[in-house]
């Protein structure tokens, strides 16, 4: 099959994408490498006529940052916690949606709503849900969530306010990310379920296979290409988490008195940009790039064993 003609045809099919990617993706990627290895590279200093030496100072600075370990820890944990949960939930919802008839359209539309809801609005909702207003005994509101868990006799938790713990913050951010990730995943998985050959289900029905068994033995393998896609891309996206934390905490990336407590590597990149400190920003990006590359390679290896096309 790999004849010369096929070779040339494939490149023809790929050419529009490749030309554009070359200019707008590969070149910036290479430029990121360049900036990362020029000590103290600053975009404005270039304009001012300064030159920079080749070296690995930027990487040293990034890793030497007093909070770098914290950023790394947050980045990795956010990803590791949210990707499996949101993917599993999305799969359950997609399958559940697929198996009902009445109200299916209504539910489907509702699950799409977060997509057309502005991110500022979502940030506002989270504020209302988790923010406590008040000091000490003088409490104006504990937030909606605390009011709800209060019904079950659980004492209020300081989720996001000054003095809140890293664990509590983590819980809120993870909830936000999972929530935010659902519509896209549901959409993709639902699309995937449509591509599944219906005969398999009919066969399972005749065999009176149990529902759980059908799910794990038929549904999951059949949507495995889409699952692999969702998992791999959401790992990549998850490592780049930033906007959800801004949505909850604002630019301080943490509760008032301990800002940066929830900051991530991409958050650090954003911290560097207002100073046009592209050297450090690029170095941090490349560190992240290396991490994602390894994780994606592992993901790819696993999926090449498990995915059924």
């Amino acid at each position: 099959m790999t004849d010369k003609k096929n070779n040339y045809k494939a490149w023809l099919y790929l050419s529009p994408a490749l030309v554009l990617l070359l200019i707008f993706s590969f070149y910036p990627l290479i430029n990121t490498f360049r900036m990362a290895f020029l000590n103290g590279y600053n975009g404005l200093a270039i304009v001012g006529g300064e030159t920079f030496e080749f070296g690995i100072e930027n990487f040293k600075t990034v890793i030497g940052n007093v909070d770098f370990k914290q950023y790394l820890k947050n980045t990795v944990l956010l990803c590791v916690i949210t990707v499996p949960i949101s993917t599993a939930l999305a799969l359950l919802i997609a399958v559940a949606l697929n198996s009902i008839k009445p109200l299916q359209k209504v539910y489907q539309t509702v699950f799409f709503l977060p997509y057309v809801t502005n991110s500022i609005a979502i940030g506002m909702v989270f504020n209302a849900m988790f923010t406590r207003v008040g000091v000490g005994d003088l409490i104006e509101t504990q937030g909606i969530i605390n009011n709800i868990i209060g019904i079950f006799g659980i004492s209020p938790v300081n989720f996001v306010n000054n003095g809140s713990t890293w664990g509590a913050n983590m819980f809120v951010v993870c909830t936000y990310i999972i929530w935010h990730a659902l519509p896209f995943k549901i959409l993709v998985l639902m699309g995937g379920l449509q591509n599944v050959n219906k005969q398999y289900y009919e066969a399972a029905k005749i065999d009176a296979t149990s529902k759980a068994r059908t799910f794990f033995r038929i549904t999951v393998p059949l949507v495995s290409p889409m699952l692999a896609y969702v998992i791999i891309t959401s790992f990549i996206g998850g490592f780049k988490e930033y906007s959800s934390i801004v949505g909850i905490f604002g630019e301080t990336m943490g509760p008032a008195g301990s800002s940066g407590q929830m900051n991530t590597i991409v958050g650090y990149v954003y911290n560097m940009l207002p100073k046009s400190n592209l050297g450090n920003a690029s170095a941090a990006s490349l560190i992240l790039f290396a991490i994602i590359l390894v994780v994606t390679a592992i993901n790819g290896y696993v999926s090449s064993k498990k995915v059924h096309y």
């Binding site: 096929n6 529009p16 699950f111 889409m226």
Partner: protein, 309 residues
């Protein structure tokens, strides 16, 4: 005698098992509906919040304890959104950019996904890996480099090349955003699910690759194509950072820039969130309608084969 007994037992078994199955089905459906309803409430809440916020006065929005229903419903925010932004112009620009980029992007995506899924050529793994790699660096660094590129500021040159400066055109809003590796990857996954035998059969029949793609693969992948269409349209509709950077003049301004820009700053310099929410709500309506319209194509497979799961 023995035969008869056996028959009776079997008869009772069938009836009982049918009853059991019916009960199990009801329980299962109840669980599914409860699950979906719970998730739906969570999904709808921010959207609800967006709407009620748009109906609040700035004063009420600033209350320490947010109200779940506006004390006083005002429509002035909507009036303001219409008055302060030249909505019609913004709509037309966005519609144009959205439509052109969606169509072109689909073409590029389909061609590339086909090459990756169906054709064998030298270097396929490397090219695909390279594509994936571009997803792994935070986008902000791309933005800066790409901005320099579209401004005609090429590497190794001391001066910008003015005729390469394509800022403040529609092209600059469309072209750099045309290729999305996410979508290529997604469609590749779908294409790969289509049995290879079909392709080989077509080859034997002497069907050209293009015809096969057009007649066989695309119809079988409608769900994914629609998903990509929706996602791409949303992308153009919600694009913010890039358009603001490269085309902020009145002749090319897009809706999010017009609406999220400073039109909604109170005189004291705070963002006027209620007015912004009103604007965002107006903007999300067309997206919502597009989704409702296209939704049936995603689920078409289901209704056609009448699978109830």
């Amino acid at each position: 005698m023995a035969d008869r007994k056996e028959f009776v037992i079997k008869d009772i078994d069938v009836a009982a098992s049918m009853r059991n199955q019916k009960t199990a089905n009801i329980i299962r459906l109840t669980v599914i509906y409860i699950f979906l309803t719970l998730m739906a409430v969570m999904m709808i809440f921010p959207f609800y919040w967006m709407i009620i916020s748009s109906l609040k006065t700035m004063e009420e929005y600033r209350l320490n304890v947010p109200t779940l229903w506006p004390k006083k419903i005002v429509f002035e925010n909507f009036v303001m959104a219409f008055e302060k932004a030249k909505l019609l112009d913004l709509f037309l620009h966005t519609l144009y950019v959205g439509a052109v980029s969606t169509v072109l992007s689909l073409v590029v995506t389909v061609l590339s996904a086909f090459a990756f899924a169906r054709l064998n050529f030298k270097g396929k793994g490397i090219v695909f890996g390279a594509l994936m790699a571009t997803m792994m660096v935070p986008g902000e660094l791309y933005t800066i480099t790409n901005y320099l590129t579209v401004s005609g500021r090429l590497p190794f040159l001391e001066e910008s090349i003015s005729w390469l400066d394509i800022t403040n055109t529609f092209a600059v809003l469309i072209v750099p955003m045309l290729v999305s590796v996410y979508y290529i990857y997604l469609l590749r996954q779908t294409f790969m699910q289509i049995p290879n035998e079909l392709y080989l059969a077509a080859k034997v029949d002497g069907t050209s690759d293009f015809k096969y793609l057009w007649k066989v693969m695309l119809p079988l992948s409608v769900s994914t194509i629609i998903t990509i269409t929706i996602l791409k349209m949303m992308g153009s509709w919600n694009a913010y950072i890039w358009p603001r950077l490269v085309a902020n003049d009145d002749a090319h301004k897009l809706i999010t820039n017009g609406l999220r820009g400073a039109s909604f700053v109170t005189e004291a310099g705070d963002t006027n969130f209620p007015a912004q929410m009103a604007a965002v709500f107006i903007v999300s309506i067309p997206l919502f309608l597009v989704f409702v319209f296209l939704r049936k194509y995603i689920m078409r497979g289901v209704s056609r084969s009448g699978i109830k799961g």
